[in-house]
Amino acid sequence: MKIPDWLSDGTTCPCCAVSVGGKRNFVEKTLVEIASMMERSIFSEKYSSSKGFLQSIDPRVKLITILLLIVTTSFVTKIEIILGIYVFTLFFAYLSKVDLFFFIKRVWLFIPIFSGIVVFPAMFNVVTPGEPLVTLVHFNSTVQLWIFQFTEISITKEGALGALLFISRVAASVSLIVLLTLTTRWADIMKSLRTLGVPQIFVMVLSMTYQYIFLLVRVVQEMHLAKKSRTIKTDRTGEGIKKEQNWVASRIGTVLMKSYKMSDEIHSAMISRGFHDEIKSHETFRIRNIDRIWTGFSLAFITGVILLNYPV
């Protein structure tokens, strides 16, 4: 089902966006996070139902080939090749009618930016010694800091290249998995996991969890919204924090009680509908020529990548 644009438009009217004190407190932070999570999954459904290239591939084939590509990326140690894999994902995102700007934003917004912070110090000679590219500070004597010794602070060639290698590997891997989940319905991914030999019970728990996550998230959202709409002044003194922590804990406790009770009810519902510890899923997938071509292509791509990286 395609969500109409007016419905997925995230802008709220200014009347209900009043924030006290200017700074976002934990209630608002939580609400924003939940909203962005919901938005992400709504967008996912939007792309998986459009008619692009990857959407037409059998989900089982797609799952296996993309997982193989992710594993391959982990083995690649040359920057050029990893950048090549990244371009590969962009190309197939384009062929699959995924908005490239959205795709890039979706990939880079999460992990790679965080990884950038992690990798930043490694660009300097303090961590990665080598040929200096830019020297920022030069000291007259050797400086000893914790376990590091240095006489200058500069960005080294080795450090910069290492950082680029690291970031591009993270970005390529995230791009691959995002490409899979954007172009495949989650129910199809679940069914395909069975073909990988994942036991039935795991797949059943996985797919049931996915469904109930959205229900529980909605419950959490309503709790926070209820609190926000009843809050006039935020209290930031020590006692206030304690009170707020107690509030969060009591809500987590409530969600826990609710979900436990719900698991009982779901169980009764399943039993009364004849559940016998086993679920028969109807396999409707069929391998077509386009799947054979895609499999051949991606296996050739993987072999090429491995041969380029580890020449015989």
């Binding site: 290492g162 998995i177 059943m204 959490v220």
Partner: protein
């Protein structure tokens, strides 16, 4: 604490997958025997709860917020084996659908947060609460201490997994292939971060929730004991 793809080299992530597969199989067998048809909905709700717990921002000092992992809390309620599956399922969904944590690193993430964290948390909690009444203050104090220790052990493990990359994959032409900081940097960084901040968030959440449950629904705290009793009921009587 979610390790993304690309941080760990193949030796580490393949090893941790190989460690986790038998553990998952044992857990699945154990739960199937204990819970019978109940296991699917119970584990699914446990996993959904484990996912949702990470969405609760907890205010800490100075206007900053953090969130808990909740591994110890789930282990206290459902027992460590059910917590293992619940947290693992939550982590797999995060990796697959939300890009949080890597695919190759699923083994590593489930080992740290799904296996080590709940098991250590659970057994420390049981040790502290031996013979403690269900409403005793030893329960929530124990829960706080256990979750604080458990998350720190898990964090140090992550630090070790990061740090050994420089040993397993030494620099080629001066540049490292995977995680680039040595053990002497990665372990203290992870440890200090969790000893000073995230450990307290986890402890505060766990102890306050246990205290809340003591006041409102103490029966939930008896679940992990009751399951053993349930197991003794003949198969025909319990569906």
């Amino acid at each position: 604490m979610h390790i993304p793809d690309g941080y760990l080299g193949p030796i580490t992530w393949i090893t941790l997958w190989l460690v986790m597969i038998p553990i998952w199989i044992i857990a699945a067998r154990k739960l199937k025997k204990e819970l019978r048809t109940r296991n699917v909905p119970l584990l699914a709700m446990g996993a959904a709860f484990s996912f949702v717990i990470m969405m609760f921002n907890v205010p800490v000092l100075g206007g900053s917020t953090g969130h808990a992992v909740g591994g110890t809390l789930i282990a206290i309620i459902l027992g460590p084996w059910a917590a293992l599956i619940a947290v693992s399922v939550a982590l797999i969904i995060q990796a697959l659908f939300f890009g949080d944590g890597g695919i190759t690193a699923i083994g590593a993430n489930c080992f740290n947060m799904g296996f080590v964290l709940p098991f250590i948390g659970y057994y420390i909690y049981r040790l502290i609460t031996v013979n403690a009444d269900i409403t005793s203050s030893r329960r929530w104090k124990g829960a706080g201490i256990a979750s604080y220790i458990a998350i720190n052990v898990a964090a140090v493990l992550v630090g070790i997994e990061f740090g050994i990359q420089t040993i397993l994959y030494p620099a080629v032409n001066g540049k490292f292939q995977y995680f680039m900081y040595p053990l002497s940097v990665s372990v203290p960084t992870m440890a200090i971060e969790h000893l000073l901040l995230f450990g307290f968030v986890e402890a505060i959440v766990t102890l306050l929730v246990v205290r809340y449950l003591q006041q409102t629904d103490p029966s939930l705290l008896r679940l992990s004991d009751r399951k053993i009793v349930q197991d003794k009921i003949p198969a025909g009587l319990s569906v």
